[in-house]
């Protein structure tokens, strides 16, 4: 009942947003400033039907996925090291603080000087997402319950058993939170970097080209596609998290007999 209510509120809120857009388009009465819903959706359908549509989507998805994977792996490893070794944490602090403070655009512009246009989104997304993942895992490691560590020591739960049954499950909430925040950040940075560097294929490149030609309907259509991509990515992530939890519960039940 509660979820039905929430869905209903979300639907009404979305409808209100679309209505505001339509009213704004009607008031401004300009295809360049703000085209209405109908022309944008018509353009959206024509974009989806275009030949290079999948190549553009694919390029952005691959860049986002690659940078996300690198963030997860390196952020987790560095986070565990930082949580475990205070000296490593102290050495990482200036990097993390700097990366958290530097504007996204500075990173993208600098990366564009150093790398090719296809590599810039990957590099920029990594630099923006890595500190988030690192900080989450590091604090997650530090907040592992000391009483439970003492219990594991006394009951001689060690090695692989301790890793699988205690350490990793204790870190899962931090890993999931870090990954969730990084993922939503990765889409935005990858697309922003594509806008600035205009690689051959990419959602951001299409947005930039449409903007240069004052095709606002195309800019909005590609924006809607970017929103859908982010939403699909988030959904897939949540599905993986839920599937992982369900598999663990099944394995636990089987082990309990």
């Amino acid at each position: 009942m509660r979820s039905v209510k929430h869905t209903l509120v979300a639907l009404i809120s979305s409808a209100l947003l679309l209505a505001l857009w339509q009213v704004g388009a009607h008031v401004l009465d300009s295809q360049i400033l703000l085209p209405g819903l109908a022309p944008v959706f018509k353009t959206l359908v024509s974009i989806i039907g275009d030949g290079p549509f999948l190549a553009n989507i694919g390029a952005t998805v691959v860049r986002a996925f690659q940078s996300f994977l690198i963030i997860i792996i390196l952020g987790s490893v560095a986070g565990v090291l930082g949580g475990n070794f205070p000296l490593f944490s102290a050495a990482m602090k200036p990097f993390v603080t700097t990366l958290k403070a530097v504007p996204v655009m500075s990173i993208i512009l600098l990366a564009f000087i150093w790398f090719t246009s296809g590599q810039v989104p990957l590099f920029s997304a990594f630099l923006m997402g890595f500190p988030v993942m690192y900080v989450q895992v590091e604090s997650g490691w530090r907040s592992i319950d000391g009483n439970l560590i003492q219990m594991c020591d006394l009951y001689e739960i060690k090695g692989f058993d301790r890793l699988v049954h205690f350490t990793i499950p204790s870190l899962v909430p931090s890993l999931v939170t870090g990954a969730r925040i990084s993922l939503s950040m990765v889409w935005k940075v990858v697309i922003a970097a594509e806008v600035l560097t205009v690689p051959r294929y990419g959602v951001g490149s299409r947005m930039q080209l449409a903007q240069v030609q004052l095709q606002t309907d195309r800019v909005l259509s590609w924006t809607l596609i970017a929103i859908l991509l982010t939403a699909c990515g988030d959904l897939l992530f949540e599905l993986i998290v839920h599937a992982g939890a369900a598999v663990k519960r099944t394995v636990d039940r089987r082990r309990a007999g």
């Binding site: 006394l154 001689e156 636990d252 082990r255 309990a256 007999g257």
Partner: protein, 239 residues
């Protein structure tokens, strides 16, 4: 087990100063004492979690090896089921998964939690969690058992039901046990001997209880007198 001239201090705070105490093998020593007088330190010294500044803790051959520790709080792994929480404590000593499952089933059965074996700690009541911890402490193949106020903060009915569960398991395989509590009644109900801490160099009171555990009634005059002695020792200026 013997504590021989043991000294232990935390900075300027002297907990034990040439303190000696003997615990008969295969019996339960119940230890009472005000907070900060070394009850938990005594357990940590016995378990080897901390070392004495000087003096020795000597164990008999039957007490050497693994230790089972029952804490104030259950300390269960939240992401593991009731079954796993017990079974994990067996892995260091028992390689065969089938035997581990049988031992786990045995102890969970004795504490009345076999039906709940697939539940997670968050799905259990406080009393059920502590029963899992009791099952784990017995399933662990230990030679020495240390209890740090495990029945504290539970209502009286639950407390006595857990003490009964504990004694059922303990009677199956008696081992040297130090049971720390704040409650003189609990100490008398469970201990083969009671000891009151409060002085850094010697127990304020150390007395064997001759009445068998299952014959101890709440109106037993000798036990009521012992309870009175314990309370007096606890309230004494040194206690």
């Amino acid at each position: 087990m013997k504590f021989i001239n043991v000294s232990k201090a935390y900075a300027q705070n002297v907990i034990f100063d040439r303190f000696s105490l003997e615990i008969e093998a295969g019996t339960i020593l119940a230890v009472v004492g005000p907070s900060g007088q070394g009850k938990t330190t005594l357990l940590h010294l016995a378990s080897g979690l901390i070392e004495a500044d000087s003096g020795e803790v000597v164990k008999e051959e039957s007490e050497e090896g693994a230790v089972s520790y029952l804490f104030q709080e259950p300390r269960l792994i939240p992401s593991s089921t009731v079954f796993s929480n017990v079974e994990l404590a067996l892995r260091s000593t028992e390689r065969c998964a089938k035997i581990r499952s049988q031992i786990t089933a045995h102890y969970l059965g004795l504490v009345g939690l076999w039906e709940d074996r697939a539940l997670y700690p968050a799905q259990l009541s406080g009393g059920m969690r502590q029963r899992v911890a009791i099952a784990r402490s017995f399933a662990h193949q230990s030679r020495l058992m240390l209890l740090d106020e495990p029945f504290q903060s539970l209502d009286i009915k639950l407390r006595y039901s857990l003490m009964k569960a504990f004694l059922t398991l303990w009677n199956e395989s008696p081992k040297t046990t130090i049971f720390v509590t704040h409650d003189p009644k609990e100490a008398i109900a469970l201990g083969d001997a009671v000891c009151c801490l409060g002085d850094a160099s010697a127990p304020l009171l150390l007395q064997k209880i001759d009445t068998p555990r299952d014959a101890r009634g709440i109106d037993d005059e000798a036990l009521l007198a012992l309870e009175g002695q314990l309370i007096k020792a606890l309230l004494s200026p040194r206690g």
